[in-house]
Structures are given as structure tokens and as C-alpha cells.
Amino acid sequence: LPKCPRMVSPAIALAFLPLLLTVIIRYRFYFVLFYRAILIRIWKDCVTGLTREERAFQYVLTHATPGDPESILEAFDEWCSKVEFISNIGPKKGKILDRLLLEQRPLTVLELGTHCGYSTIRIARALPLGARLYSVEMDQRNAAIAEKIIRLAGFDDDTVELIVNPSDEVIPRLRSDYGLERLDFVFMDHWKKCYRPDLELLEGCGLLGKGSMIVADNVLFPGAPKFLRYIRKCGLYEWKIHRATLEYSRGIRDGMAELVYQGIK
């Protein structure tokens, strides 16, 4: 029999089978996530020629009742768990957010990272009368879709103001352009790397007062280690992490950081 001398014998290759199985079983949720969030997305992008957000918008448009935030959120959840994956805050962590908002009753809210407007709607419906939500989104196309969805949910310009600009440009101008003195509530769900610089920017501009609450999503997965290290060290905040799983996925652990600004003592 002719033999390929360089080939590793099949028995040794078979011995690696347990390792392969272990890796597959242990990290199955990550593989599923990879498949849903990346492979399907690329495939659908090629097939439909639309972006993921546009597809989500189409689905919501056809499946939700206009003017009803609840049904829009439900449609989103369904699309994200059944069809494709978008990293919204999700229903479970959303409930924590709702609770925090109801406890805090904030009047001025800043949201960093609108994306499709899911979390914007969630925050806006939990706000008290007369409160105002400023939502910052960097991407033009996403912002257009978010605008449509927010208006579809029935929130007007007085309640939700969408700012299309990178967050690090918006924050220094909040005081001058939008006349904000103090933010009661900040929700961060944009680029994980911007969490820490934006937080420092907020501190630097003096927009945080004693008792202002900052909630940051996805601090464990994908994770914002520098942000966590910063809040641990700086001592300006009372903080805790709500542990949960990643949105629309069961096995991946994630957390939402809740910070209350204490100011310099």
C-alpha cells in the first residue's frame, strides 16, 4: 500500500475527538451566536440587499400595531429570537431597566446608542410625564430607521430627541446646544470601548449630579473591562452589576452595570 509518510495516523486524530466534542458542547452557545449573528446576517445581506436593521424594520412594520410601544417591542423580540440576531437590550434585562426607571423617575435621560430604537421605546414608555429623552446615534442609516420606529411607537419630538452624531462629539455640546444642566439617567449601549471615555466626558462636563444613575449594558459580554476597572477604582459611584444572560441567548452570561453618581466627597 502506498503511504503518505507525513500523515498523522488516524488513531491519533481520533484521540482528538473528545477534545472536539468538549469544545463544541461547552461553547455551543457561542457557536450558535456566531451562526445567528454573523453567518445568517452575511447571507441575508447578500440575498436581500438590505441591511439587518432595514429587515428588522420591515418585519416590525408588518407585524406590530402602530402607536403601541408594547407590540413593537414584542415584534422586535420575536424577530431577534426567531429570525435574526440584533443586540438589543432584550426582554429580560429590559425588565430590570424598566424597574430602575420606575424607581428613579428621571426627567432628563440620555441614551447613547439608539441602534434600531428598541431601548429608546423601552425607556420612553417608562418615563414620567414631562420627561425628555435624548438619544444619540452615530450611524446615519440606523438613525433614520430608529426615527421611523420611534415615531411609529407614537413618541413625538418633545419626548424623544434623536441626535445623529458620535457620542464623544455630542456630550460636550449637550450643555450649550440643548441647554441641559443635569442628566438624571444615562443609558449606555453603544460601542463598548466608548463606555469609559464617555463616562469620563460626562463627569468632565458636569452633567452628572448626585444621584444621577448610569446604566451600561453588555459589560460582561462582549464586555467593557476598562469601564468596569474605572468604576471600581474611581470611587465616584455606588455600583452593582445585574447578572443576566445575553439577550436572546440562554447560555452566555452577561451583566448590566448600574451606577449611581455620588460626586466628590
Binding site: 491519533i12 481520533l14 482528538f16 473528545p18 477534545l19 468538549t22 460582561l220 473591562p225 452570561r253
Partner: protein
């Protein structure tokens, strides 16, 4: 205060004071020489204690003092000085005293005031005396004034006060009544010290009181002795201090002598006792292997190398002609072929000469006895250790009082690292949560069918995995035999090392798979760990025995080959003889180079080589996994984290944890292989010592450098004997095949110390017959027959005794604990709680007392 004791004989006091004043300069200089930490501390404490005594007694004459006018300046100065001393003292004394600081300083300030008063009084008195005999006193007074004017050094001050103390209570000056009183006071203090634990006082007060009374006793106990007693006492104190210091140094020295003790302690403080238990086990194993190594090296390898026939003298000690070309190649040596095979490292090299060298060393006998002795020694050590552990370990009922166990015993006091402490804290919290949930669920017990199904499924999967790995090993070993028949040179390195590679890889990866599968079962972590251990054990054992069975096949093949070779050799010799005879009829001794003489396959060396290769490949896999799985991963996680899109440290790959159970089992099976193979490859213990030595350093480094403390920190105290029991089982299982081969298979005809005998143990009989007088062998055999049955019975009795003793202790502990805890009804639970708390507090207290 001195007044209360000395009003009767003022003059005496004044003179003695004066004398001391003269001596002061000398003593000061002496003291400066002696200026040491311990000394200083002692002095400071004594002085303070003196102040306290002062306080006690001054209370009596508080009224009298009040009458005196107070000079503010005079009062302030000593106070400042005192404050300085207090600071110094607090700095010196360990940090645990910190909490006491406030209290003590407050107290001391109080005392200082009073003492200031007293001093003032004294100075007044002095003035009176000075008036009496000014001539004598002037010198001293000046000295004193000088001291008061310039900031007196701390030491002088202390000295001064010490003087004052001495002045206060001069035992010689005491009347018998006062002595009696003092004695009573000392006794009282002693009683106080003994009964202090039971006092319902806060910890701080207890500590303070303890120290005070200890110092009081220390001081006046000696003072009660008259005359020379005081000096003797000082001498005694000095000697005890020195002795204690020496003892402490000696302890340190002893600790330094225990190999790797500091390393292990450091790991223990970072990772808890479970990880440390692995390293202690490793060290213990190292010790045993050292002794095995000493036996084989000293009694087998060295004598053969020094006194046996040299290399190249006979065929078994020469590389055959066919292999000569490649005998020095690294690849061949790495496989333990070539020159390595024909050396003292393996069985085949040894000659069957009855005695070697000028010492008449009985080599075959020694070889046999060392083989038996190593195994016997191992049995002895393992059983002895087990028995000792069984006596030591507190046996308890783990399941009945889950919450109380958790409540009172879950903290690992050896943890010294904040991160580990955090983890431990978190794990205790979670274990509480889990326990509560478990309790709730056990009451609900819904979905039991699903759980059962999952458990059965998990076991099925594990069985499949075990069977698969067993079959794979069997397949590989059979294939390697085929390769061996073809001739190993035609095959690649991978194919030649297939068996070892596959065994090591399976041994490494299958436990991971088991771990993942066990997540299905939803067991309690402790139970899950036991299952995991059991499964890994089964896997390793299965692999080892498959390997041995395959080796047996190979031995049989070799023996058949041997028969053919034997026949061929006789033919060859005959032909050679005939040839030489035909060529020259003188029949001179034929000189053929030993490398050219044909020889048998020598299955013993083959077995030894297989084991050595297995050990080597196992070691290599362990180290490579360590480097890749731990170190490389840690490096990647650490440095890629700066530029990665998710948090690598907290999330997905993270750092690895130290796998205690897997490592311990690996160690145990490694030892099993040593026991099995050591008879055929005397180099195995040496290799193992080397391996363990390297592992110790490498793993210590890897643990400290790239592992994180376990999320599930559990205590290891209970599992020690479990490991030992496993070791015993493995020892038994590994001696079985070795004994089988020794007893049932005849040794090769042309290699090894037993060549030419029908069985290996014939060497004993031979020795008895030829080395001892006839009567001895007769007696020996008679005695052997006589005790043969008794030995068996004794063995069984030993085992039964061990089991009985452990079970008895278990039972007793069980019954006792149950009694204790069951009598405690719920309403009384808080009493136990308080008792335990006080117990713990007392423990702390005791430790502190020891420290001071």
C-alpha cells in the same frame, strides 16, 4: 504611690535612690549597648504596666494628692514624653493591636496624669531630703534637672521610670505582711488569667487584662524571691527569651529544611488548601520515589556499572551489528533504543553471574530483592499513611446538618489572597443559595423523571466514551504489533509512538468530556466531583489495563520468536563450530565479536522500554498542555485583551483553573506505571524523580503565573485519604501484572540477571542452597511453610483491622455528632451559636496571646 509602701522607712529609700543615681550613668551606657527591639518592647511594656499598678494604688491616695498644688509645666513634660513612648510602642507591636490603640492611649493618658502627680509628690519629698543632706544630693539633682530641661531621650526616660518602679516595690524593703499581700495579688492575677476565657467581657478588655496581668505576674513572681532571687529571675527571663528566640529560629530552620514548604504555603494562601493538597501530595510522592530511586540506584545500577562486566564484553552488553550505525542517533536514543537499551537502564543488560566484583556482590539476588522490596516498601508507606490520616481526620456526618456545617465550617482560614477570599466568599454565598434551592427542590421534587433520564443518558454517554477509548487503545496497540513485525524503521515517528500518544491524549481529553457531560446530571458539586473522579479513574484504569493486555500479547509473540531464535542459534553455533573445525583443526577458541553473535528478542527489555516511553510521552504531554493550555492561553488572554472585541478575561476563554482531581489522578497513575515497570527498567524511579522534581517547579510556577483561583473553592481535608485509597488500589492493580509476569513467564535465555533459570524467583532457592549452610535452608523452608498460612491470615487481619478501626471511628463520631446536634432543638440553637462564637473568639484570643 511609693509612699503607701515606704512611709515607714524613708531614709532607706532615699539612700538607695542616691546610690542608684550614682550608678545611673553606667547603666545607661549599658542599656544603650543592649538596645534591641525585643528589649525595648519589653521595657516599654513593663514600664506601662508599672504605670497601671501605679493607677491601682494611686486611687487610694487620690485625695491626698489633690491637696498638692499642681505645677503645670512639670506635669506637661512627662506627658509629652509618655506620648512619644506610646507611639513607639504602638509602632512596635503588631498590627492586630491597632483596634486597641485608642483605648490604650486613653487609658495611658489617664495614668500619665496620675503618674505625673505621683512624680511631683516624689520630687517634693526629694526636696525635703535634699535639705537634710544637700551635700550628697546636689550632684544627682543637677543631673535630674538637666534631664528635665533638655528633651530627655526616650531611653533615659524609660530607665528613669524603671528606677522609680524598683523604688516603688523593693521586695527587700517589704514587710512580711506586704509580701503576703503581693503574693495574694499575684495569685489573684494568675487565677484571672486562667478564668479569663469564661468572662463575659469584650475581646478588647480581655486582651488588655490578659496582658496586664501577665506582665504583673511576670514581674512580681520573681520579686517574691528574696535577695538574689531578683537577679536570678532577670537571668531566667533573659534565658527564656533567648530560648524562645532559639526555638523560633529553629522552627524557621526546620521549615526551611522541608523542601518547597514556602512555595506550597504561598500557593495555599493564594488558592486555598485544595490546590495546596495536590502539591503536598506531589512532595510526598517525590519522597517515596527518592527512596525507590535510592534502592534501585544504589543496589542495582551502580554495582552493575562499577563491578559488572564492562560494555562490549558479552553479547547482552553490546549493541548488535545491525543497529550499530544508528545507535547514537538522537531519535533512537530518545526512543530508548541503541546505546540506551544496552545499558544499566534496562533489564537486558544485567548479567546472570552469581557474584560480581571483589565484594562478591550477589547481583541477581539483589535485583530480585530490590524489585520485591520497592513494592513492599510502597505498600507499607501507603498503608501507614492511610492509617495515620484515618486517625487524624475528624470524621463527621456530612449530610444531615447541611446548613450548620456550611454556617460554621465553610471558611478556609488558610486563604491569604484577597481575590481568593472574594471567590471563597462568593462560593459560600452561592453554596448557601444552592443549598436553600436544593432544599426547596427536594421538597418539591418535580421533574424527577427528567433528571433521572438525564443522569442515565450521561452515564450512557460516559460508558460509550470509555468503551471507545478502550477500543481505540486496543486497536492502536494491535497496529503497533503489526508495525513491529514489519520492522519499525519503515514507519514514521507518529506511527511508532502512536500508542503512547493516543493514551496520553485520551487521558487528557476524555476527562474534559466527562466534565461537560456531568453538567447534564445536575448533581451537587461534591457529588459531581466524586462521579468525575470515579469516571476518570475508570478511564485511566481501562486504558492502563488495555495497554497491559496488549503488552502480554506482545510478550507471547516475543517468546515464540525467542524459541525460533534459540533454535537458530544452536544451528548457527553448530555450523560455526563445524566451519572452524574444517578450516583449522587445532580447534583454537573462536573469537567472534559479541556484536555479531545472534541473540533473542528479550521481552523484559521490551516491556521496560514500553513503560519508559509511556512515562516520557506522558510527561511531555503534561508539560506541553501546561505550556499551551495554561501559559499560552494566559498570555493571549492577557495581551490580546487590549485589542479584542470582547472581554477575554471575564468572558469566553478566561484564565484556566487548576484541575486538582485530574492532576492527582495523573500523578497516581503515573506512579502505578512506575511500580509496574520498575522491575524491567531500573531507570524508571530515577526518571520519575526527575519528572516530579521538574513538575514541582513547573507547576508551582504555572499555578502562580497563569491560573486563577477556583470559582468553586472546596476544602481538601476530607479527600486526602480518598487519594491514598486510590493510590493503594492502583498499587495493588499495578503489582498484579508485574507479579504475574515474574511468577508465570520464564525469563529470556540470554539476557537479564535471571537468564538460564526457569523462573525468576529461583534465585532465592539458589542462594539458599549455595550461600547458606544446609541446615539454614532447611530451617528457612520449614519456617516458611510454618508461617506461610499465618502470613496470609496476618495480611487479611491487617486489612480487616484497618477497616474495622476506621469504621469504628466513623460510627463513634457519627453517633456522637448526632447526639450532640439532635438534642439541640431549634429553640436551643442560638445557645450553640453563642457557644461556637465564644469558642471562636477564644481561639482568636489564644492565638493573640501566643503572638504576644
Amino acid at each position: 504611690m511609693s509612699v503607701s509602701f515606704t512611709t515607714g522607712d524613708e531614709d532607706e529609700i532615699s539612700t538607695s535612690e542616691h546610690e542608684r543615681g550614682k550608678n545611673r550613668g553606667k547603666r545607661n551606657s549599658n542599656d544603650k549597648e543592649k538596645k534591641k527591639k525585643g528589649n525595648g518592647r519589653r521595657k516599654a511594656s513593663r514600664e506601662r504596666e508599672g504605670e497601671e499598678d501605679l493607677q491601682d494604688r494611686t486611687e487610694k491616695r487620690e485625695k491626698g494628692k489633690k491637696r498638692r498644688a499642681k505645677n503645670d509645666l512639670d506635669e506637661k513634660q512627662p506627658e509629652e514624653e509618655d506620648e512619644e513612648q506610646v507611639k513607639v510602642k504602638n509602632g512596635k507591636v503588631a498590627k492586630s493591636k491597632k483596634n486597641l490603640k485608642n483605648e490604650t492611649t486613653r487609658k495611658i493618658e489617664q495614668e500619665k496624669k496620675e503618674e505625673g502627680d505621683a512624680e511631683e509628690g516624689k520630687s517634693k519629698k526629694k526636696k525635703k531630703k535634699e535639705e537634710k543632706d544637700r551635700g550628697k544630693q546636689t550632684e544627682k539633682e543637677e543631673e535630674k534637672k538637666k534631664k528635665h530641661k533638655k528633651e530627655t531621650s526616650e531611653e533615659d526616660n524609660e530607665e528613669e521610670e524603671e528606677d522609680e518602679e524598683e523604688k516603688e516595690v523593693r521586695p527587700e524593703s517589704l514587710s512580711p505582711e506586704e509580701l503576703e499581700k503581693l503574693k495574694e495579688a499575684v495569685d489573684e492575677k494568675k487565677k484571672l488569667i486562667q478564668g479569663l476565657r469564661g468572662k463575659p467581657w469584650p475581646m478588647k478588655k480581655k486582651l488588655v487584662t490578659l496582658r496586664e496581668s501577665q506582665e504583673f505576674v511576670e514581674k512580681y513572681e520573681g520579686a517574691l524571691g528574696k535577695g538574689k532571687g531578683r537577679k536570678l529571675y532577670a537571668y531566667k527571663v533573659m534565658m527564656t527569651k533567648k530560648w524562645m528566640k532559639f526555638q523560633r529560629d529553629f522552627e524557621n530552620f526546620k521549615t526551611a529544611c522541608i523542601p518547597w514548604e514556602m512555595k506550597i504555603k504561598e500557593i495555599e494562601s493564594h488558592f486555598g488548601s485544595s490546590v495546596a493538597s495536590y502539591f503536598i501530595f506531589l512532595r510526598w510522592m517525590y519522597g517515596i520515589n527518592m527512596i525507590l530511586f535510592g534502592l534501585t540506584f544504589g543496589l542495582v545500577m551502580v554495582p552493575e556499572a562499577l563491578m559488572g562486566r564492562p560494555y562490549g564484553s558479552i553479547p547482552r552488553k553490546t549493541v548488535p551489528r545491525a543497529e550499530e550505525g544508528s545507535a547514537m542517533d538522537f531519535a533512537v536514543l530518545w526512543d530508548f533504543g541503541g546505546y540506551a537499551q544496552y545499558s544499566v537502564l534496562f533489564y537486558g543488560y544485567y548479567n546472570n553471574q552469581r557474584s560480581i566484583g571483589w565484594l562478591k556482590f550477589r547481583m541477581p539476588l539483589s535485583y530480585f530483592l530490590v524489585g520485591v522490596g520497592t513494592v513492599a516498601y510502597s505498600y507499607m508507606v501507603v498503608i501507614r499513611t492511610m492509617a495515620r490520616n484515618a486517625n487524624e481526620s475528624g470524621v463527621g456526618d456530612d449530610n444531615s446538618f447541611n446548613f450548620s456545617w456550611k454556617m460554621f465550617t465553610s471558611w478556609d482560614y488558610l486563604i491569604g489572597n484577597p481575590e481568593t477570599a472574594d471567590n471563597k466568599f462568593a462560593s459560600i454565598t452561592t453554596s448557601f443559595k444552592e443549598a436553600i434551592l436544593e432544599e426547596q427542590e427536594s421538597r418539591k421534587d418535580d421533574n424527577i423523571h427528567l433528571t433521572r433520564f438525564l443522569r442515565v443518558l450521561a452515564n450512557f454517554l460516559v460508558l460509550c466514551c470509555l468503551a471507545g477509548s478502550g477500543y481505540l487503545i486496543y486497536f492502536v496497540v494491535r497496529r503497533s504489533q503489526k508495525f513491529a513485525l514489519d520492522g519499525l524503521e519503515n514507519h514514521t515517528w507518529w506511527e511508532r509512538n502512536e500508542v503512547n500518544m493516543v493514551m496520553s491524549l485520551l487521558g487528557m481529553f476524555c476527562p474534559m468530556l466527562f466534565d461537560v457531560i456531568s453538567a447534564l446530571e445536575n448533581y451537587h458539586p461534591r457529588v459531581a466531583l466524586q462521579w468525575q473522579l470515579g469516571r476518570i479513574f475508570a478511564l485511566f484504569l481501562g486504558n492502563l489495563y488495555t495497554f497491559i493486555i496488549a503488552l502480554m500479547d506482545e510478550i507471547n509473540l516475543k517468546r515464540e520468536e525467542e524459541k525460533v531464535v534459540k533454535f537458530n542459534i544452536t544451528m548457527w553455533e553448530a555450523s560455526l563450530y563445524n566451519g572452524t573445525v574444517s578450516e583449522n583443526s587445532t580447534a583454537s577458541p573462536i573469537t567472534i565479536h559479541p556484536a555479531d553473535i545472534p541473540r533473542g528478542p528479550c521481552w523484559e527489555t521490551m516491556v521496560g522500554q514500553e513503560f519508559v516511553r509511556l512515562i516520557i510521552s506522558d510527561t511531555m504531554t503534561t508539560y506541553i498542555t501546561l505550556l499551551i493550555g495554561d501559559f499560552l492561553r494566559a498570555v493571549l488572554v492577557r495581551f490580546l485583551n487590549y485589542c479584542w472585541c470582547w472581554d477575554l478575561e471575564a468572558g469566553f476563554p478566561s484564565y484556566s483553573e487548576f484541575d486538582v482531581s485530574g492532576n492527582v489522578l495523573g500523578l497516581i497513575f503515573n506512579q502505578g506505571m512506575i511500580w509496574m515497570g520498575a522491575f524491567y527498567a531500573p531507570c524508571l524511579p530515577a526518571l520519575n524523580v526527575l519528572r516530579l522534581h521538574v513538575s514541582m517547579y513547573l507547576q508551582c510556577w504555572a499555578v502562580m503565573c497563569c491560573n486563577v483561583p477556583q470559582e468553586r473553592v472546596f476544602k481538601a481535608s476530607g479527600s486526602n485519604n480518598f487519594y491514598m485509597a486510590m493510590l493503594l488500589v492502583i498499587l495493588f492493580l499495578s503489582t498484579l501484572p508485574a507479579i504475574y509476569t515474574i511468577v508465570s513467564i520464564p525469563p529470556s535465555f540470554d539476557c537479564g540477571p535471571f537468564s538460564g533459570k526457569s523462573r525468576m524467583f529461583d534465585v532465592i532457592q539458589e542462594t539458599l542452597e549455595s550461600d547458606f549452610p544446609a541446615w539454614f535452608s532447611k530451617v528457612f523452608i520449614m519456617v516458611l511453610f510454618y508461617i506461610q498460612t499465618k502470613i496470609q491470615i496476618a495480611f487479611i487481619q491487617l486489612a480487616i483491622y484497618y477497616l474495622q478501626s476506621t469504621s469504628k471511628s466513623y460510627k463513634e463520631a457519627n453517633v456522637e455528632l448526632k447526639k450532640k446536634l439532635q438534642t439541640v432543638t431549634l429553640s436551643e440553637l442560638h445557645v450553640v451559636w453563642i457557644l461556637l462564637l465564644t469558642f471562636e473568639i477564644n481561639l482568636c484570643f489564644e492565638i493573640r496571646a501566643l503572638v504576644f
